[in-house]
Symmetry: C2
Subunit: 393 residues, 2 copies
């Protein structure tokens, strides 16, 4: 076979060690989302092109994966999870009583320039509350974000918040420049403002803005000092209509690990009436990177806790019984898959970083015991299976 | 907005009630897979066309979603999880020590005729052991299947097994006909054999075949009477080289809920040498349908266990504290998202089938108690939050 095994640029295989981390983060987040009553939603990876086209600006239309399918339909691949949510809310209006609190974790597709370290397939992790415009719902989104970061073991973080209302009297061009404050610094912002013929004092006007009543309401209700009012925060201005949110992890400088806000004009795009909504999307890749850099993946190097070796053809059945018992005790246990020299079985366990090896030879069988070998210390002891379970678990 | 909200034919939205069932089954299966030491693998939804093309026969090439991407590359959407596995095994040969035990749960895409009740996006759920050809590995696959069905609460099932060797002296055309025995019956098979000019006695030759030594070995090792030798079982003959497996649930007649077997010539397609493998794929949609028909989804109608109502603007904060405490106790709890009449809040809880409503009014606050209302019986009692937790949990 002459086909070279390779992956498309911007697309990734996740081998077990990475896939396990991803599963861990997804499961942790889902648990938090569900503890707040958010429910899962799944939408297809392909949509009619007309559903997605024109919803993400010119850039979006350009980066979207679009093609003609076998039935001559124009189709497009999922570009984000918000437009599909808007479609679902309109399409199943009778089945989905509002407020609708949903989470969605799925991959989206953008033909990005991979030179900029971007991926063409990446995971989005969204929570949204649809159908209510209240400070309580704004606050709930903040609470979910805080709880999510906490559950992942992240202690030092900030949730920056702003209100779209802050920008009411500021020219749009200036807001886009001021939003870059953290990236290009005060001097950079002022220079750009000047270059565009805008008043450089606009930066200070924005910076000195006081929190709006709504922001104060939300902050007072949640009462968490990690929620910080940041009047220069804009995040894709056109989109948001109320609170704007961005999560930052201290010590992780690659960027925010998620953002969101209130967008009361978007979800109703397929409906007759506007439908208020507030939401947040975790930047999944960044979150993983941050956790990695902070050494916060507390998982064992191996899924398997113990390898049950096979002493001989005759004793194979004994090993099979034992490994089944271990699993019944809730222990992830592998049996070696061949009758092979003990040395080879030991090597497999070491290579896979399985912490324990269990040996059941004729002597062990006679005394109804097992020999448990800890592969880090290489110490071994012969004991009852129950005692072995207690050590392994 | 004039765009009609609709889903592509053969594609599905999974609203929360369905999505929760799907998550439940996926999580249950993953837990079983991991208890046997299978590890997760993720591969992209898009592959170079040349990787997938020609691997699934003419039918596969026809049904595959293929297109030219923005960078003029010919790409194809994931058609199954086995060819990507073969690619991964070749591409990361140095990083993946064999035997490699992996599971993968992801969606695959086939432009099927939806008239036949088929979907164009559906979930596959595969386990495979790559790099070893032993009866122990055959047996392990059977054990995983048995444990998976058991954990989902399915008691009466059969795992049909056969060995490719049974068909050694039977013409390929005859095998394809005999494989249809369950569908078209004995008379149907004999008629088709005759029509094709084949010996009608071939059916009895196959039916009377005795288990091969390998099958006997596997059956003796696992020793489970639900593993049944079925000499007429063929399942896409060209593919399998050893054991052939099919899982059937008694009382569910729409078809098998999964199948697999040994395929020692497939995984090596991108490598220099053949690599033995054995695996099994659950038919995810059928499995869900079977569980539904047997009433085996034991989940509560609502993710949320209790709705904490808001008595008044002033007491909103008290409700927020309470709902946070409930979540800390591990209880999925929602707070109503607006200050609204109690009647409206009650209605929301009933609509969402949340079992309990918690009220914290001025009297409750004074006595440091809460009022808990069970929404099925409409009975309520005023008690400490701790007592309420014990009732809700």
């Amino acid at each position: 076979m002459s086909v070279e095994p390779r992956t498309l640029k911007g697309f990734r295989d996740f081998l077990p060690s990475e896939a396990r981390k991803r599963n861990y983060v997804i499961n942790s987040l889902k648990k938090v989302f569900e503890s707040f009553g958010f429910e899962p939603l799944e939408t297809p990876v392909l949509e009619y092109e007309e559903i997605l086209l024109g919803k993400y600006g010119d850039e979006g239309d350009k980066l979207m994966y679009r093609f003609t399918d076998n039935g001559e339909r124009r189709v497009a691949m999922r570009y984000d999870q918000t437009v599909p949510l808007a479609r679902v809310v309109a399409q199943y209006a009778n089945e989905l009583p509002l407020p609708f609190k949903r989470y969605q974790v799925s991959n989206v597709y953008r033909a990005e320039n991979t030179q900029r370290g971007r991926f063409r397939e990446f995971t989005q992790c969204d929570i949204d509350i649809v159908g209510v415009n209240s400070s309580i719902s704004d606050g709930e989104i903040l609470q979910v974000v805080i709880r999510s970061l906490e559950i992942l073991g992240i202690k030092n973080f900030k949730i920056l918040v702003n209100d779209r209302a802050i920008f009411e009297d500021i020219p749009k061009e200036a807001i886009i420049i001021i939003d870059k404050l953290k990236k290009i610094g005060e001097e950079g912002v002022k220079q750009e403002l000047q270059e565009k013929g805008l008043d450089i004092n606009l930066l200070d006007t924005v910076r000195m803005a006081k929190p709006t009543e709504r922001i104060t309401q939300v902050q007072n209700a949640i009462n968490d000092e990690r929620i910080v009012f940041e009047p220069t925060l804009a995040r894709g201005l056109d989109y948001y209509t109320g609170i704007i949110i961005e999560a930052e992890i201290e010590g992780y400088t690659a960027g925010s690990v998620g953002g969101g806000g209130r967008y009361d004009n978007l979800i109703g795009m397929f409906s007759k009436n506007p439908i208020p909504a507030v939401g947040f999307a975790f930047g999944f890749d960044r979150l993983l990177e941050a956790l990695d850099s902070m050494n916060l993946f507390k998982m064992d190097p191996s899924i398997t806790k113990v390898l049950v070796s096979i002493f001989s053809e005759e004793l194979q059945k004994k090993s099979l019984e034992t490994v089944t018992l271990l699993r019944k005790k809730g222990i992830n246990a592998e049996m070696y898959l061949e009758v092979a020299p003990m040395e080879k079985q030991l090597k497999y366990a070491i290579k896979k970083q399985i912490p324990y090896l269990l040996v059941i030879g004729p002597e062990e069988v006679e005394k109804d015991l097992v020999t448990l070998k800890a592969l880090d210390t290489r110490q071994q002891q012969t004991l009852t299976l129950l005692d072995a379970c207690n050590i392994i678990a």
